[in-house]
Symmetry: none
C-alpha cells in the first residue's frame, strides 16, 4: 500500500484530496503546514508527498529542501502560481513534478501514478538475499534458516536490515541509517546502531564476533556484503 502525505493549508482541498486518494486505495496522511509536514514525513515515512507551495509558516522551497536533506521520496508540488521562475525553483530544489492550480483530479492522479511508478523501479532488486546460513526475504518479511527454522526480527531490526540489504556492497553512513530508521533528529546516537547491529549479527551471522556480511566501516558507517 502506497503511503501519501498531502500538505495543504486549505482544509477543504486537504479533505478533497484525502477522499480521492483513499478511494484509490492509497494510505493518506494530512498536514496543514510546513512544520507538520516535516514532522509527519519523519514519523510516517510516506512513499509520496503532495505539497502545496502556499503554506502559512514556511516557504514551499524550504519544505522541499527540508525533505531532500534526508530522503528522496517523490514530491509533487501544487501551486497557484504559474510563473516560470516558481516552477524552476521548486523543481531544482528537488521536486519531481509541478502542477498548477486549478487542476483536474484525474490529472493529479495520473501524475501520482507516473512518479510512483518511476520511484518503484528503484526498489526492484532481488528481494531475497543470503546471510550465512539464513535467507532473508525482504518481500515476505521473513528470515529462514537452512534447516527449516525461522528467525524473528523486531521492527527496528527489520528496518535497519532492509536499508543495508537494499544497498548491497555499498557503504551506508551512520547518519543516513539513523535518519532513515529513527528520524531526522537522531544524528549522533551511534550507540543505537552499535546495539542493533550487534543484535542482527547475533541472529544472522554464523560467527557474530567475526561478521562476514554485516560489516563495520569504522568512523563511517556499515555495509552489507552479499
Amino acid at each position: 500500500m502506497t503511503r501519501v502525505l498531502v500538505v495543504d493549508d486549505e482544509p477543504q482541498i486537504l479533505r478533497a484530496l484525502g477522499i480521492n486518494l483513499r478511494a484509490r486505495r492509497y494510505e493518506v496522511a494530512l498536514a496543514g503546514d510546513g512544520g507538520a509536514a516535516l514532522r509527519m514525513a519523519a514519523s510516517h515515512r510516506p512513499d509520496l508527498v503532495v505539497l502545496d507551495l502556499g503554506l502559512p509558516d514556511m516557504d514551499g522551497v524550504e519544505v522541499i529542501q527540508g525533505l531532500r536533506g534526508w530522503t528522496n521520496v517523490p514530491i509533487i508540488v501544487l501551486s497557484g502560481r504559474a510563473g516560470s521562475q516558481d516552477k524552476v525553483e521548486a523543481l531544482d530544489a528537488g521536486a519531481d513534478d509541478y502542477v498548477t492550480k486549478p487542476f483536474g483530479i484525474d490529472e493529479l492522479l495520473a501524475r501520482v501514478r507516473a512518479v510512483t511508478r518511476r520511484a518503484a523501479g528503484v526498489g526492484e532488486e532481488a528481494p531475497v538475499v543470503r546471510i550465512g546460513r539464513h535467507s532473508v526475504d525482504l518481500a515476505a518479511h521473513a528470515v529462514r534458516t537452512d534447516d527449516g527454522g525461522d528467525v524473528r526480527l523486531t521492527p527496528t531490526e527489520w528496518h535497519l536490515l532492509k536499508i543495508l540489504v537494499r544497498n548491497p556492497g555499498r557503504l551506508v553512513s551512520q547518519r543516513q541509517l539513523l535518519h532513515d530508521v529513527w528520524g531526522p533528529q537522531y544524528q549522533s546516537e551511534t550507540n543505537y546502531l552499535r546495539q542493533y547491529l550487534a543484535q542482527l549479527r547475533r541472529k544472522l551471522e554464523d560467527d557474530p564476533a567475526r561478521p562476514r556480511h554485516l560489516l563495520t566501516e569504522p568512523g563511517m558507517g556499515y555495509r552489507f556484503q552479499p
Copy 2:
C-alpha cells in the same frame, strides 16, 4: 554527457529545442516523426526523450508504448492539448511528465533536470577508478583487489583519495588538500599529507616506493594519474 532525443514535427520548434539543449551541454538528436523517433531511440540510446504528441505518422501514445516496450528511458511529453484525458492517457502509457504548449524554455529545462536527476539514481552509474591491481568505487565507498579481496581505508584516507580521484590528472595543491580534509586552520601541516599519502600508496600502489598513480609534485602538491 546526457543524450537527449527530441521529437517534433515542426522544424522550427525542433531547431529551437536543439539549440537550447546543446547550449546546456546536452548531446541532442532530432527526429521529425514517430517512425524516426523509434529508430533513433534504438540506435542512439538516449538518456531522455522529449516527445511532441502531434506527429504526422503515429499517435503519440503509440510512440510511448513503442519505447516502453523495451526501455524505461525518461519521457517528457509536449502537447498542445491541455485536456485532462490526453494527459492521463500519455502519463499512464508510460510518460514521466506532460508539458502543455506554449511553455517556457526555462520550465522545460527544469523538468528535464528533474526527470534525469531521478533516473540517474536508477542507473547506478558507478564511477570506478583503477589504481594498480585495485578498483576504487567512489559511490560504494569500496576498494576491491582483482583477486576478490578488499582493501580497507580509514575515513581520512578516503577523504584524501576522493579529492585526488575527482581531479584525475590534475595537480591538487597541498593547501587545498589540507583545507578540504582537515579544515581551514590546517594549511602548513604538510606532514599529515606525507603520512597519509604514504599509507594510501602502501595500500593501493603495486610498488609503494615507486608510485605510478599517486604522484608527488615536489613543493606544489599531489596528482592522481589514472
